[in-house]
């Protein structure tokens, strides 16, 4: 006991407290580290890897290494030197022999249509390495395309190690022969339209959710807790029901022989079924249904906190109810409208499953194309670039959302 008091006297209390606090902080950090390490492995590194793939350009450099080196000095104004032709002939022969040409051919085919055929044909025709000084003649002899600048600038552009080709392509842009950024030809320009469609559907769904969600949130916030808790079940039950169940249910309801069409015909409103599913209408209905709780819940919590005294004060000062509502009540709900709206919009632009199941070919959103290029055509560069654009849009909106709700996160089930 005496020793304890002695050491205590040697180290000032302030320092001991600071040391204890530091240990506490280290312990706290130690508790967070396992999750951070886990997310690093299962989330951050994979997404970083995807972002890297959107600029990674290794294929051509691997299959045609000498050509890429020989083209370093080429200014792109005239045809490349004889040395570049010789390097290409040697590369193509080696790559054909060890079967690495196909990967590079696929990459170059994105830039110039028909490149795959050109390379295979050249590989097959080049029986032996052309004699010194005759490589250019030999290659242009096999295919006149080797006498065109575009053929060569494609190799130089795809020489790696990084490229902006995919990111530009995701925005319907490309580099021309001089290396400046221009719009892609009209028949290849599809992604701007798809991004517009994605944001358009997102905005439409957000507005519909706001219109439908506002009266519900208002009712729930105005009723006594006992009643509003009961009615809240009608919001929470759909929220907790599986996305697939809800999508399936809408298909059953909206199909040509479904309850809605049958009902409208029975009422005599229609005489033949209206197409309500596998088109934009179906996408809007199903997505609004899935996302509506994400609008209602933030709106409800904001409205719940609005004191009725303001409305009473407005009324007592002579404001008609409609004026008091618009000028007094509505402005106070703006944080809820902003938070709910942003949340719905952020979730909506990432939607994949619902449009894939209830939409037609013309209703698919950007996520569909990311999945499509990943699994179907295996154009991972483009899939990653489209993903990078969607991710940037989402993160910007998420930061705004975070600022809006002051870092207090909602416990919403992100179902997608």
């Amino acid at each position: 006991m005496a020793a304890f008091v002695a050491t205590g006297a040697e180290i000032p209390l302030k320092r001991r407290l600071r040391r204890a606090e530091r240990t506490r902080q280290l312990k706290a950090l130690g508790l967070v580290v396992p999750l951070l390490a886990f997310l690093l492995f299962t989330f951050l590194v994979p997404i970083g890897g995807m972002l890297w793939r959107s600029v990674d350009d290794w294929e051509v450099g691997k299959a045609l290494p000498q050509t890429v080196v020989a083209l370093k000095a080429w200014d792109g104004k005239d045809l490349p030197s004889e040395a570049a032709y010789a390097a290409l002939a040697s590369d193509i022969r080696r790559a054909t022999a060890d079967r690495t040409l196909a990967v590079a051919a696929k990459r170059l085919n994105y830039v110039v249509n028909g490149y795959r055929t050109l390379l295979t044909k050249t590989g097959r025709a080049l029986k032996e390495q052309p004699a010194a000084g005759e490589a250019k003649a030999a290659l242009t002899g096999i295919d006149p395309a080797w006498g065109e600048r575009a053929t060569w600038s494609a190799i130089k552009g795809a020489g790696g190690p990084v490229t902006d080709y995919y990111l530009l392509a995701a925005l319907d842009m490309q580099r021309n022969l001089d290396g400046s950024i221009v719009s892609a030809p009209e028949e290849q320009s599809i992604y701007q339209g798809i991004f517009l469609r994605t944001f358009g559907i997102g905005l439409g769904v957000t507005l519909t959710c706001l219109i439908l969600g506002f009266p519900v949130a208002y009712l729930l916030a105005s009723l006594p807790p006992k009643q509003s808790n009961m009615l809240m079940i009608f919001v929470l039950l759909p929220f907790w029901t599986s996305l697939l169940v809800r999508t399936c249910a809408w298909i059953v309801l909206l199909q040509d022989q479904g309850l809605i069409n049958d009902g409208l015909r029975w009422l005599g409103i229609l005489d033949h079924p209206v197409r309500l599913i596998f088109n934009r209408t179906g996408v809007f209905i199903a997505m609004t249904h899935v996302l509506l709780p994400f609008m209602i819940l933030p709106l409800y919590s904001v409205m719940k906190a609005i004191s009725p005294a303001y409305m009473r004060a407005a009324a007592s000062l002579g404001a008609p109810p409609a004026v008091a509502f618009v000028r007094i009540y509505l402005p106070q709900t703006l944080p809820g409208i902003g938070a709910g709206g942003l949340l719905v919009f952020i979730l909506a632009i990432g939607y994949y499953i619902t449009p894939a199941l209830v939409g037609g070919a013309g209703d698919q959103m950007i996520s569909y194309f990311i999945a499509f290029y990943t699994t179907e055509t295996v154009n991972w560069g483009l899939a990653s670039a489209l993903g990078a654009v969607l991710l940037s849009a989402t993160l910007v909106l998420a930061v705004v959302y975070g600022k809006l709700v002051h870092g207090t996160a909602t416990t919403g089930g992100v179902k997608n």
């Binding site: 902080q25 950090l29 130690g30 508790l31 967070v32 580290v33 999750l35 951070l36 886990f38 997310l39 299962t42 989330f43 951050l44 994979p46 997404i47 890897g49 995807m50 793939r53 009266p215 519900v216 009712l219 729930l220 105005s222 009608f234 919001v235 929470l236 039950l237 759909p238 907790w240 599986s242 996305l243 697939l244 169940v245 399936c248 249910a249 059953v252 309801l253 199909q255 022989q257 309850l259 249904h289 509506l292 009725p308 008609p320 109810p321 952020i346 990432g350 499953i353 996520s367 990311i370 999945a371 990943t374 993903g387 969607l390 991710l391 993160l395 998420a398 089930g413 992100v414 179902k415």
Partner: protein, 276 residues
């Protein structure tokens, strides 16, 4: 409590009636598809139309005797339970750490921890697919469990953090001053009090995994197909009444989850009232 529901003037009464009518229509919109699918699952016909020609249990029989569907149910539970346990441990620890950690980096760390909730699932799925494929983590349970844990953990962090906000740290100080070692304090004092939060986080985590289909599309082989994945395939091909039977079972399951959550919330409120 507000008195908005007791309108006095005519226009107030009109506005209130309008609100009730509009909200009722929206409630119908929210509930109709879920209710409408139930009778169809008992239909004796293969066509999903009303009126039902007759009542039968054949689709439920189909569902419970199909190897494909039963395998998917088993897979959903294996993946769901494993990722729930993992995310509960990781999420609770992190929430405890974040509650007592004071640093400028805290908001950044919080943003990272919550980001799997915000990033579109397709992006996570594609990234994980690229990264896991060379590591042999596709076509087996391990990869799916890891991916679902990443998606589910934010919910545990949020619910446990919310519970910790009302947790009185003096209680663990009292335990320590009475000589309890930190681990004992955690299990005897802290955990029982934050248990409702941990449990509702676990329910959220399980529901997230149980309902997730996008990463399953990318990572699962035919042997790991989960219930939603099987439903996805079924809806794509042609909706058979067996899917409606599966949908009804899943809905009953959601009702059970929601009831558990509501029960936990009430219990948590009671505990809070008892402590303060």
């Amino acid at each position: 409590m507000s008195d908005n529901h007791a309108p006095r003037t005519l226009s107030q009464r009109l506005g209130w009636t309008g609100t009730i009518v509009a909200a009722t229509l929206v409630f119908v919109f929210l509930m109709a598809p879920i209710i409408a699918i139930v009778p169809l699952s008992f239909s004796s016909s293969t066509y999903l139309t009303y009126p039902l020609p007759g009542v039968s249990m054949r689709w439920y029989q189909d569902l419970f005797t199909s190897d494909k569907w039963m395998l998917s149910v088993k897979n959903s539970f294996i993946i769901g339970i494993a990722s729930t346990v993992l995310s509960m441990i990781l999420g609770t620890l992190a929430a405890l750490g974040l509650a007592s950690w004071k640093s400028r980096l805290k908001s950044l760390v919080m943003a990272i921890v919550l980001s799997p909730m915000v990033v579109p699932v397709v992006i996570t799925a594609v990234g994980v697919y690229f990264f896991f494929a060379p590591l042999g983590l596709t076509g087996n349970y391990a990869g799916l469990i890891l991916a679902h844990t990443a998606l589910a953990t934010p919910f545990v962090v949020i619910t446990v953090s919310a519970t910790l906000q009302s947790f009185d740290t003096n209680l663990s100080r009292a335990a320590a001053s009475l000589g309890a070692p930190p681990l004992l304090t955690f299990f005897k004092v802290v955990l029982p009090l934050i248990l409702p939060g941990v449990a509702s986080g676990a329910l959220f985590a399980f529901a997230t995994s149980f309902d997730e289909v996008v990463t399953v599309l990318f990572l699962a082989g035919p042997e790991q197909r989960t219930l939603p994945r099987e439903m996805f395939a079924g809806i794509r091909e042609n909706i058979s009444p067996t899917i409606t039977a599966a949908a009804v079972i899943l809905t009953i399951f959601s009702v059970a989850l929601l009831s558990c959550l509501e029960w936990l919330r009430r219990r948590g409120e009671k505990l809070k009232a008892a402590v303060h």
